[in-house]
Structures are given as C-alpha cells and as structure tokens.
C-alpha cells in the first residue's frame, strides 16, 4: 500500500481542483497538513498491513515497483515534518485565498514527487521524480512573481538542467553495464570488476549532479539566491527537505548500491564536504539578510553530510542521515523564525533590527534553541549528529577533516551569535518599539520544531536505536 504515498497526494490535487470554490480555497492548506500528519503517523506508529506490499487493494490495476527500507522511512518522516511546517507557515503568510490554494496544490504535488523519490527502486524512475520536485520548485520560487523570484528560479532551472544532464549521463553508463536500471541490477553489475572504470565515471557524474541539486560548493551559486528570494514557506521546503531529497538522498542510494565507489570517489566527497563547510560558514559570516545567512548555513551543513558520507563506513552513513534529519528540523525552525521576524518588523535586514527578543519572546527563545542545535551544543539534537560525524572521521583516520569539522562548528557559532546579537539581543531598534509577538500560526510550528530538537537530543539513545542505527542495515 506504500504506493498511496504517491497516489493520494496526486488524487487530492485533482479533486481539489475539480471541486474548486471558496470553501476549497480556504481548506486546501489544512487538507495538505492533514495528509502530512497521516504520513508522519504512519512512520511513527507503523501499521503492518500498510507497509506490506502484498495487501495492496490497487494491486490489480497498478504494478508500481516501490519499496520502503529504513532509510526511505526516515526520509518520509522528514518530508512529512517539513511539508507540514511549510504548509502551516504558508497558511499564515499568504493573504489571498487563491494564492494559498495555488501554494497548497504545488506543495502537495511536490510532496507526491518527494515521496516518489524515496520509494522507487529504479534509478531512471528516481530521475523522473527528481524532475517532478524540480519543476514544482521552479514555480514555487517565483510564486510572488517578482523580479528577484523569476531571476532565482531561472538560475535554479539552468543549474538544475546541468545537474540532470550529469545524472542522465550517469544513468546511461549504469544502464550500459547492468542492462537494466533497477537498483538490484546495478548492485549486481557493480560487483563485476570488468566494469570498474565505467562504474567510477558513472558515480563521478552522478555525484556532480547530486552536488548541484544539494547546493554544494562549487555548484552552490543558485542556493542563496533561490532560498532568500522565495517566500519563507518555500524557503523552509527548499532548505529543509528539497536539497536533501533531490541531491543527497539519490547520492546515498547510488553509493550504497554500488559499494561506495573507490578511494578517489571517497576523497572527492571528503574534499567537497570540507570546502562546502568552510565556504558556506565563511560566506554566512558576511551576510546582513537573515534568510541569506540561513541559506549559506545550509551549504555549510550539507558539507557536513557529504563529509560523513566520504568516510564510507556504516557510522558515517548513519551520521549523515541523522544530521540530515536534524538539519531539516532546526533549519525549518530557523526559517520559520525569520518569517515571524519579517512579518512583525517588515524587514530581514539585520542592520535595521535589534533587541526584539523582549517584544517577541517565543520567537527569540526558539531561535536560540535552533541556533544552539545547529552549532552542535549538547544535549541538543545537532550535537549528537555532529559527534557521530566526527567519530566516523576519527575511526577512519581522517584526523584533519575531523579537526576542520570541529573548527567549522565554532565559525557556525560565530555567525549565529552575530545573528542573535543583531536581531534579538541588546537595545531595541528605533521604530520597532511597538511590535508584538507573531500570531499563533507562526509560533506553533517553531515551538513544535524546537520541542523536536530538544526531545531528539534528550532521548538520543532511543531515537538512535529505533530510527537511525537501522539505516546502516542498507549497507548489509
């Protein structure tokens, strides 16, 4: 029945448009939220008959070759959480009903595409669903129809096309050596030493495509523009989940099904990861726009994930997936905080802000929780994932990379402290004396996400045992 993760959102969009009217316009976002809540429920409280492909009532009509292992389930959970938050923020930041309706429809279609990416068992199908998410993202980025939005969407289209060219070339080579595009066929072909060189070229090309989609240095130029000029509800979706599902998840799948390539591929991952961490963090230091700083921070955090993958060990994979999960939670929360600040003060320019924590206590407090987690301060969730990454690097004798990972955390702390000081602490900026805390619609999502960050940190052993460590089984 896992095909319902794709079919239900698709059918929902068709039905919403068939019965479009004033009432449907109003409930479209709520309906999307309901879909994502059901998705989260099905992962957290698994119903055996749902996950069993044999009990598919649509089996007579649809022969969809889908499968959900532990990695897919973690990704589905991340997709559910981030999409729910994005819809919730959109519900309160879009004023016109038609705009809300369009936004909800596109997000639900993107949800269908993202679910497809993590459930397919064929690399060409994976590419098709990556395109679904890409097309939805282009439109979502320029949803406000302003010049900056169109410019960023165009930049994203061009780089996205370059990424898909790399990915398609890689798929062609994989098809060439395996005679099929299923993960199983590629896995079998990758064990044949005759195809060693072609396989490495294929992995290299796919990695370039994944780096572009994931916004890693040197393919990151689209990311800060797209994330900062898109409406905040879209920035949450892009930074929280799209770059991971379209960029890093396919890379993890390819690396695990082909045995991780050879040493040169691992070295590329380690180098690109390290450079991304440093470039992203240093670029974030010099930003004045909150969302642009958060976007560069995403480049840096994606670097941590790729660095962890570069170790090629089970612990490295587990660390990468855990950091992806944590990043999707705290980055969504920090973007939601920026939405609250922008909505209440009318600006994202840190030079014009200051001391607003006393007027916006919930936003200020939750923003500190998100900041501490992203900087890797114990006992919050971000600390544990960064610790696993550093241990994985240490175990594989990559001491230099481990050192850079720790030092970059200090830089992360520096730019986030600068953000806190310039936006929330100190004397209140002139003209902002009469601002109030954001409404419940912007506060509830950040409180939920801050609670997730704290709870994942406190119940780390339980989360690790039940959710994260089983991800390593895909290497067996």
């Amino acid at each position: 029945m896992i095909s319902l993760f794709i079919l239900v959102p698709l059918t929902s969009v068709i039905l919403l448009n068939l019965f479009k009217g004033s009432l449907i316009n109003k409930i479209a976002c709520w309906f999307g939220m309901l879909l994502t809540l059901v998705q989260i429920y099905l992962i957290v409280f698994p119903v055996t008959c749902f996950w069993d492909n044999l009990s598919n009532p649509l089996g007579n009509y649809f022969i969809l070759n889908l499968s959900a292992d532990t990695l897919s389930k973690v990704m589905l959970l991340m997709i559910g959480i981030v999409t729910f938050i994005s819809l919730m923020i959109g519900q309160y930041t879009y004023h016109e009903e038609t705009q809300k309706f369009n936004f909800a429809n596109l997000i639900i279609l993107a949800l269908s595409g993202m679910n497809g990416i993590v459930l397919v068992t064929d690399i060409f199908s994976l590419y098709v669903f990556i395109e679904v998410v890409a097309v939805a993202s282009f439109i979502l980025i320029c949803l406000y129809k302003d010049k900056a939005g169109f410019e960023s969407a165009f930049k994203y289209i061009i780089l996205s096309i370059a990424a898909t060219v790399f990915m398609l070339l890689s798929i062609v080579l994989l098809f060439l050596i395996s005679g099929d595009t299923t993960f199983t066929a590629i896995n079998i072909a990758s064990k044949n030493p005759t195809y060693g060189f072609i396989l490495v070229v294929a992995i290299g090309l796919f990695t370039c495509g994944a780096f572009t989609k994931g916004g890693l240095v040197p393919f990151h130029s689209w990311l800060p523009d797209a994330h900062s000029s898109a409406p905040t509800s879209i920035s949450i979706l892009l930074s929280g989940i799209v770059i991971k599902v379209s960029g890093l998840y396919p890379l993890i799948r390819l690396l695990t099904m082909t045995g991780g390539g050879n040493e040169s591929i691992k070295n590329i991952l380690l180098i690109v990861g390290t450079v991304s961490i440093l470039v992203g963090a240093l670029a974030a230091l010099g930003q004045n726009d909150i969302k642009r700083m958060l976007a560069f921070s995403s480049v840096s955090q994606m670097g941590y994930i790729v660095l962890s993958l570069g170790t090629g060990t089970m612990l490295g994979l587990v660390g990468a997936v855990f950091h992806m999960f944590n990043h999707s939670v705290f980055k969504s929360q920090l973007f939601a905080n920026s939405a609250a600040v922008e909505k209440q003060t009318g600006t994202r320019d840190m030079n014009k802000l200051g001391g607003i924590a006393q007027k916006m206590p919930f936003t200020g407090t939750t923003s500190i929780i998100g900041m501490l987690s992203i900087c890797g301060i114990p006992p919050l969730a971000g600390f544990w994932s960064k610790l696993i990454i550093v241990i994985a690097l240490w175990q594989t004798a990559h001491y230099g990379y481990a050192f850079v990972a720790v030092i970059a955390s200090v830089i992360t702390l520096a730019y986030f402290l600068s953000l806190q000081r310039r936006v929330f602490f100190g004397k209140i900026a002139s003209g902002l004396e009469n601002i109030k805390e954001a409404k419940a619609g912007l506060i509830i999502p950040v409180v939920i996400l801050a609670a997730v960050t704290i709870l994942v940190g406190i119940f780390f052993p339980f989360i690790m045992e039940k959710l994260i460590m089983p991800v390593g089984d895909i290497l067996k």
Binding site: S112, G113, S125, E131, I139
Partner: protein
Amino acid sequence: MNYDLILLVIMMLAALMTVLSTRLLIAAIGLALTSVMITILMFKLKSPLAGVFELSICAGLITVIFISTISFVKPLTDKEIDERTKQRIKKYLALPILLILIGIILIFIIKPTTLQIPLAIQETNVRKILWDLRQVDLLGQVIILLVGVFGIVVLFRDVQKETNKK
C-alpha cells in the same frame, strides 16, 4: 564512408544553430533538426520505439508548439538581430572550438574495447513497456505534466487578467 559520423556532425551543427541563433524561428527549426538526427541514430541503434517517440514528440509536437508561440511574439528588427548576432558570436565563439577539441581528445582516449556489455531487455510491445515495465515512470510523467500545467495557470493567469482589463 561512415554515415554515423556525418549524422553526428549534422546533429552537432543543428544544436549549435539552436543555441547561437538570435531568431527564435531558426532556433526552433534547429532544435527540430537535432531531434530528427537523434531519431535517425536511434533507428540505426535498433531502438525504433524511442525513435518514434523522439520524432513525434520532440521533432513534431514540441516544434509545432514553439512555432505557434513564436508567431505571437513581436519580431526583432534587422538592426537588433545584427547587433545581437555579433554579441552572441563574440560571447560563444569558444563553444564550437571547445566541442571540436573535446571530440579530438575523446578520439584519442576512447579505444576499441572488448568489454562485454549485457543486453538490455528487448521488448517491443508498447503497452507492456509503458504499463507493465515503466509504470512508475509513467506516473511520474503524469505528475510532471500536472505540475507544469498548474505552473502555467498560476504564473500566467493574472497576466492575462491584467491584459484583459487594459
């Protein structure tokens, strides 16, 4: 004489014409010509089904849509075309040279190989390919189409309304 090489060269020239031309109509025709060359190569590579799709959709349907749209666009003046052509040639002069260089390098790198490549599944029944073998892809393409149509409605409907008001 190696006809494949001639086809590849024509395909490359047509592709260059598509990206370098300042006239939209010539670019659309260049794209259609590229697709026709790809179609012939697909037939020669014993993939008739892929060739039929390429010819009917890429060379046919898409060209018709492009040309229909171009007919609504205000054409550039001859002076503007001359200026833009000069700018573009100056900007992309390196592109054909780069392509030739890459071609020469590849000729030296790629040597005749004895590598045994496994055969892909040979299925000629279109229904079976689309509905049984590639059903997930078909579903993905349906979603892409839906997103695309929705995007056009979202981004252009207001523009149409404003034009009607004027």
